[in-house]
């Protein structure tokens, strides 16, 4: 475990040095994300101008959910997003070769090489929105704030597992671009509370495509708590995803034919 922590520390340092060179990148990243957050908040502002509640969620509760969702997504963008964009090149251009020669798990290297540390600022923006709407949303606060970090990690783990499941097929297909786009289309299901969805879609985003675990379930858990079976469902689905992802990685590696793949 210790060597992995050391490698992660070095990767973190390297990425920090690289990003320090492009300082304006910080402002643009923040600007783009602030607008994105603004558009999502505006969408619900318009809807709530017409109705008092949406599937039992008040405007403040939805904004609290959005805050948690933005923070969780920003964590993923900071530490993993770029690695998944580069995943296709790892296989198609044979860049995986160099990782396979190292005496550590190549998957660990593949998923931690690139970071967008400037995006980390958006974790605070998301949390600021959650904090602003916590009380009117009915969040108990106090020691329950400690649970926020745990639920953010659940959201992060879900995003990694899902994104990996959409990217791994590059070992079998020539281009993974269409699947990446499909991931981002489905990702839109994560931007709304799961209570809004009809039963079939709700079932889908709580099981086979658990996008609800990124923001909706954490927000619901923080606001109202979950049933015991819902906790079991989250653990079961995430475990299943990690087992299948790991198996696909091993099978994919066996197909890998270096630069000519």
């Amino acid at each position: 475990m210790k060597p992995y922590l050391e490698i992660f520390r070095v990767q973190l340092k390297n990425n920090f040095v690289r990003e320090a060179v492009y300082r304006t990148n910080f402002l643009t990243t923040v600007m783009v994300d602030v607008i994105w957050m603004g558009v999502e908040l505006s969408l619900f502002t318009v809807l709530y101008a017409n109705v008092p509640t949406l599937a039992g969620w008040t405007k403040e509760q939805v904004f609290f959910f959005l805050g948690i969702f933005f923070a969780s997504d920003a964590l993923f963008s900071t530490f993993f997003q770029r690695n998944f964009w580069m995943f296709s090149d790892l296989v198609n251009k044979g860049e995986l070769d160099i990782l396979l020669t190292k005496p550590v798990n190549p998957l660990f290297l593949a998923l931690t090489r690139w970071m967008s540390l400037t995006t980390f600022f958006n974790v605070f923006l998301g949390l600021a929105i959650a904090i602003r709407f916590a009380e009117p949303a009915g969040f108990a606060g106090g020691s329950r704030w400690a649970l926020v970090s745990i639920w953010l990690l659940v959201g992060l783990a879900t995003a990694v597992a899902l994104r990996f499941a959409f990217s791994i097929w590059v070992f079998w297909t020539e281009r993974s671009w269409a699947l990446s786009r499909l991931y981002y289309q489905f990702f839109q299901f994560a931007t709304k509370p799961d209570a809004l969805y009809p039963p079939a879609i709700r079932y889908l985003i709580l099981t086979f495509l658990p996008f609800a675990f990124i923001g909706s379930i954490p927000a619901r858990a923080l606001l109202h708590g979950l049933e015991l079976e819902e906790y079991a469902l989250i653990a079961g689905v995430l475990l299943a995803f990690f087992v299948v992802d790991a198996w696909l990685w091993r099978v994919g590696l066996r197909r890998y034919q270096s630069a000519s793949s």
Binding site: T24, N25, T28, T29, M31, V32, I35, W36, V39, S42, L43, V46, L47, A49, N50, V51, T53, L54, A55, G56, R175, W177, A178, R181, L182, Q185, F186, Q188, F189, K192, A195, L196, Y197, P198, I201
Partner: protein, 263 residues
């Protein structure tokens, strides 16, 4: 000669877009139906779970019709050609185009227009099939598609003008991403613009984005009269002139500063 390169650019654009046919169809379908599914979910939550009967004067049926018909026009709008222009400037590839006897902004537009024309034709056919199930007239559909295509040109003009920021700013792509998000909301792709509170309507009315999706959908569904449609057509013509002027200005200034570095 002038027509020849334009036709060649159109042909080349269509060939390029359909080189990976499965991906082309896959992208078209996912780009069309996932956003529509999201809209439908919102209406479902409002009416079926929330028990609402009418919102901003629209019933569940009205909103579903809007969602369904707006898909036809959402697919005609836009594309990522502005990102292509920005990358050309940033990487210095623009130099290759400046040496040729073609206007680079128009060339990129025509290449991108070809698949959009194909999609517009397909969506028109789809709309005519839909007219058997929904009360929409094929004549109105043709007019609405015409407005959506003009919207495509306006969208490109504004996008290309913004892309010219790459002449002076390395991170110009972020402006384009912001523009995309604003257009998503203010074009009527995410929800009908008449859901905006009256006091905020000026926001979408003062930009041309509503002409891309909301306008064509309103006309196709018979919620705009022919007179209103003609007025909006006139407004789109004004935006075309403004867009043309903006391109001339921004690219004229940009080319003067261009150093052909990178790549």
């Amino acid at each position: 000669m002038k027509l020849e390169w334009r036709l060649a650019a159109l042909k080349n654009g269509l060939q390029d877009a359909t080189a990976y046919r499965i991906e082309f169809i896959f992208e078209f379908l996912s780009a069309a139906f996932v956003p529509a599914a999201i809209q439908w979910i919102l209406w479902y939550a409002l009416f079926k779970i929330g028990g609402a009967t009418e919102i901003a004067g629209m019933s569940y049926q009205d909103l579903l019709q809007y969602t369904l018909v707006s898909i036809l026009f959402t697919q005609v709008r836009g594309g990522d050609l502005d990102f292509e222009l920005g990358e050309m400037i940033r990487s210095g590839q623009l130099s290759n185009y400046l040496l040729r006897p073609v206007g680079v902004v128009e060339f990129v537009f025509l290449r991108g227009l070809a698949p959009k024309l194909f999609i517009a034709g397909f969506c028109l056919l789809l709309g005519i099939v839909l007219s058997f199930f929904i009360d929409i007239s094929p004549t109105r559909l043709v007019g609405a598609m015409g407005l959506a295509l003009i919207g495509n040109v306006i969208y490109y003009q504004l996008s290309a003008s913004l892309a010219s920021a790459a002449f002076v700013w390395e991170e110009a792509y972020s402006l384009l991403m912001v523009k995309n998000m604003v257009v998503n909301l203010l074009s009527g792709e995410l929800l009908p613009l008449n859901l905006f509170p009256q006091a905020l309507s000026w926001i979408w009315m003062s930009a041309p984005f509503y002409l891309f999706v909301f306008g064509p959908t309103q006309y196709a569904l018979g919620r705009w009269s022919h007179e209103q449609f003609l007025v909006q057509f006139g407004i789109s013509a004004i935006w075309l002139v403004i867009g043309y002027g903006l391109i001339r200005l921004t690219w004229g200034l940009g080319i003067r500063r261009y150093l052909s570095l990178g790549g």
